[in-house]
Symmetry: C2
Subunit: 365 residues, 2 copies
C-alpha cells in the first residue's frame, strides 16, 4: 500500500469551507484500507499575505514542490484589492504554476444531465456536452518580460505586457492535446490569433508540425480564437479537445464553463511534465470557480467543483481511475436525487448547505 | 445641400456582393434630393494583394484618409493563407485603423425581435438585448513592438507580441464610453485582467480617474475580462456599455454578437477623434462578420450587417439620426415580414438571396 502526500492550500473566501468537504472525502478513502493519503496544509493568497506579507511563503512553496499533489481552493477578495501588485493573492497561484512548471491546464467543460436546465443556453445545445479545454499555463502574457508600468513624466504612464512563446512550450502542450484526444473523440481544435499575433503564427506552425510528427491519427483543426469564442456559444458540441494559449485559455474556458450551467461544478487539473525516471508529474488541482467572498462564511458554497478536483487528482496523479469514476458518480447521484446548493437550485430541488452536500456525496460513495 | 464623400472598400469573399446592396441604398438616399453621397471605390485585403502585392495601396490609403467615411466589406480567405505576414489581407484593415487613428470601435450587440429564436441562448436571456461594446482599436497587442519571431538557432523559435497602453489611449476610450452611456442607460462596465496584466492595472486606474473627472453621473463597474465573458453568457442584459481593450474587445464582441443570434446582422463603427476645428471624425463602418469565402459568389450572403453599417455612418458621420432610424426600421420591417437570408432562415420564413433582401429593405424605406 502506497502513501501519497497531499498539500492542501484552502486559500481565501469559500476556499477553506469547500476544502473541509474534500478532507471528509479523503478520510473516507483512507478508511477503505487501500493507499493512504497524508495531508499537510498551508496558506496561499490573501490569507498568506495576512500571515506573513507574501502570497505564499517559501516554506509552503517548498512543501508544494515536494508534495505528490497540491489541492488548491481559491484566492482573492475585496479585502486585498489594494495590496501591492507583487503580493496580491493571485501572485501565490501564479508562482505555484510557474515554479512547479504546471504547463498543462485541463479544464473539462461537461454538462451534468441534472443541470442541463440551469444553463442560459438552450437544452439541446448543451445537453451531453463534454469538451476538454487544454490551456497552456506557464507561458504567454502571464509571465513574459517586460511587464511594467513606467511614468513617462509628462502626465502619462505606459504599461507593457509581453506575450512570449518558444517552440518547446507550444510543442509540449500540443502533444498533450493529441494524447488526450486519443483517449476521447480523437479531435483537437487549436485556437490562436495568427492574423494579428506573431505568437499565433508560431503557435499554428508548431501545432501543425507536431501533428505531422506522429499524431496524424488525431483530427486537427485550426480556428481563430475570436471565432472559437463564437463557435463555443453557437454549437459547443462540435469540439472535443481545444488547445490554446494561457490568456485565450483563461477567457475561453470561462465562457465554456458558463455554457454548461455547471460553473460551481467544474474542476481543473494543472500538470507538469512526467519525470523521465519515475514517470511522476507535479500537479495542482483546483475548482474553476473563484473565492466568492460574497458568500464566504455562510455555509452556502457549492463544494462539488472542489471534490471533483480531488477526483481529477485520483485520476491523473494516482492512476486511480476506478476510484475517480466512483467519486464522479457519487456527485452525479447526489445531484440526480435533487440535492442542490443555492447556486444551482431550481424549482423542486432540495437546497442544502456546503457540508450537507459533502455528506450526501460521501453517502453515495 | 452638402455633399459627402464615401470610399467603398468591398474587400474579399462576400464583401463585393453585400456592398452592391449598400450602393442601392445610397442611390435611394441620393434620389430623395437631400444631401448627396458621392462614392469612390478601392481595393483592400486579398483583392488588393492580387492587384498590386499589398493589402492596401498607397493610393487607396490616401483616398481613405481624405474621405468623409469609409464603408468596408470584409477581408481574407483561404486563397491568401500563405501570403507573407506583412501583406496578409488583415494587414489592410489594420493599417486603415491605425493610420486613420480609429481608436473607438462601436459594436452594438442587439437582438432583433424577429430573430430571438435563432440564438443558441434561451429566449428570455437575449430578448430585447441591447448592449454596446466599445473596443479600443489602435493600441494594445495589435500594434505594440516588438512583434517578432526569432530563430534561436537551437531548433527553437521565439515569438513575441507586446501589449502597450499609454494613459491617453485609455483616457480617450473611457471618455467615449461615458459619453455613449449618457445617451443610453447610464452604465459602463470596464473589463481588463488587472490581476495578471500591468496594462490591466493601468487601464483600471485611468478609467477610474476619468470617471471621477466629470463623469460621476454615469455608473461605473469593473470586471475581470474572463468573468466578463462568463457574465455575457450568463445574463447579458446586466450590461449597457462595455469598454475594453483591443484584444479583449475582439473576443468579447464576437461572443456578444453570437449571443444575439444575429451575427450576420451586426454592424460596427470605428471612429477617430473629433477634429478640434471642424468637429469631424475620421470613420470606417464595417459588418462584424467576416468574408465568408465558403458562400462567396452564391448570392446567399446576408447584406443586413453591411446595410446597418451604412445606417451607423448616417448616424455617426453625418448626424442623420432620422435617416439612420428609418434605415434600421426598414431592416426590422423586412425581417418582421418573414424575409430571411439562408444564414438566419427558420421554419415558416421566406428564404431570399442577397439582392432580394437588399431590394426588400429599400421597398420598406
Ligand atoms: C486568478 C487568476 C490569476 C486566474 C488566471 O487568470 O489564470 C484565474 O482566472 C484562472 O483562470 O485560473
Ligand atoms: C480581421 C481581424 C484582423 C479583426 C481583428 O482581429 O480585429 C477582426 O477579427 C475584427 O474583429 O474586426
Amino acid at each position: 500500500m502506497a502513501t501519497h502526500n497531499l498539500l492542501l492550500l484552502p486559500g481565501d473566501g469559500i476556499g477553506p469551507e469547500i476544502m473541509v468537504e474534500v478532507k471528509k472525502v479523503i478520510s473516507w478513502f483512507n478508511a477503505q484500507g487501500g493507499d493512504t493519503f497524508e495531508t499537510d496544509e498551508g496558506l496561499v493568497g490573501g490569507s498568506a499575505y495576512d500571515a506573513h506579507g507574501q502570497a505564499i511563503s517559501e516554506e509552503d512553496m517548498a512543501k508544494a514542490m515536494a508534495a505528490d499533489a497540491v489541492i488548491f481552493g481559491a484566492v482573492g477578495g475585496p479585502k486585498w484589492d489594494s495590496v501591492p501588485y507583487e503580493v496580491r493573492p493571485e501572485a501565490g497561484l501564479l508562482r505555484l504554476r510557474k515554479d512547479m512548471e504546471l504547463f498543462a491546464n485541463l479544464r473539462p467543460a461537461i454538462c451534468y444531465p441534472a443541470l442541463a436546465d440551469a444553463s442560459s443556453l438552450k437544452k439541446e445545445v448543451i445537453e451531453g456536452l463534454d469538451i476538454l479545454i487544454l490551456r497552456e499555463l506557464t507561458g504567454g502574457v502571464y509571465f513574459g518580460e517586460p511587464k511594467t508600468i513606467t511614468d513617462l513624466r509628462n502626465g502619462q504612464k505606459r504599461a507593457i505586457d509581453t506575450q512570449v512563446y518558444d517552440t518547446y512550450e507550444i510543442e509540449r502542450i500540443a502533444k498533450a492535446a493529441f494524447e488526450f484526444a486519443r483517449t476521447r473523440n480523437g479531435k483537437v481544435t487549436s485556437m490562436e490569433k495568427r492574423n494579428v499575433m506573431k505568437s499565433g503564427v508560431l503557435w499554428n506552425e508548431v501545432v501543425t508540425a507536431t501533428h505531422k510528427n506522429g499524431y496524424e491519427d488525431v483530427k486537427l483543426e485550426h480556428m481563430l480564437a475570436d471565432a472559437g469564442g463564437m463557435q463555443l456559444v453557437r454549437w459547443p458540441k462540435q469540439f472535443d479537445v481545444i488547445v490554446t494559449d494561457n490568456l485565450f485559455g483563461d477567457m475561453l474556458s470561462d465562457v465554456a464553463a458558463m455554457l454548461t450551467g455547471s460553473l460551481g461544478m467544474l474542476p481543473s487539473a494543472s500538470l507538469g511534465a512526467a519525470d523521465p525516471k519515475t514517470g511522476k508529474r507535479k500537479a495542482l488541482y483546483e475548482p474553476v470557480h473563484g473565492s466568492a467572498p460574497d458568500i464566504a462564511g455562510t455555509g452556502a458554497a457549492n463544494p462539488i467543483a472542489m471534490i471533483a478536483s480531488f477526483a481529477m487528482a485520483l485520476r491523473y496523479s494516482f492512476e486511480k481511475v476506478a476510484e475517480a469514476d466512483m467519486l464522479d458518480n457519487a456527485i452525479a447521484n447526489a445531484l440526480a436525487k435533487g440535492l442542490r446548493t443555492k447556486d444551482i437550485a431550481s424549482e423542486g430541488s432540495k437546497v442544502v448547505g456546503t457540508s450537507e452536500m459533502g455528506d450526501a456525496i460521501i453517502a453515495e460513495l
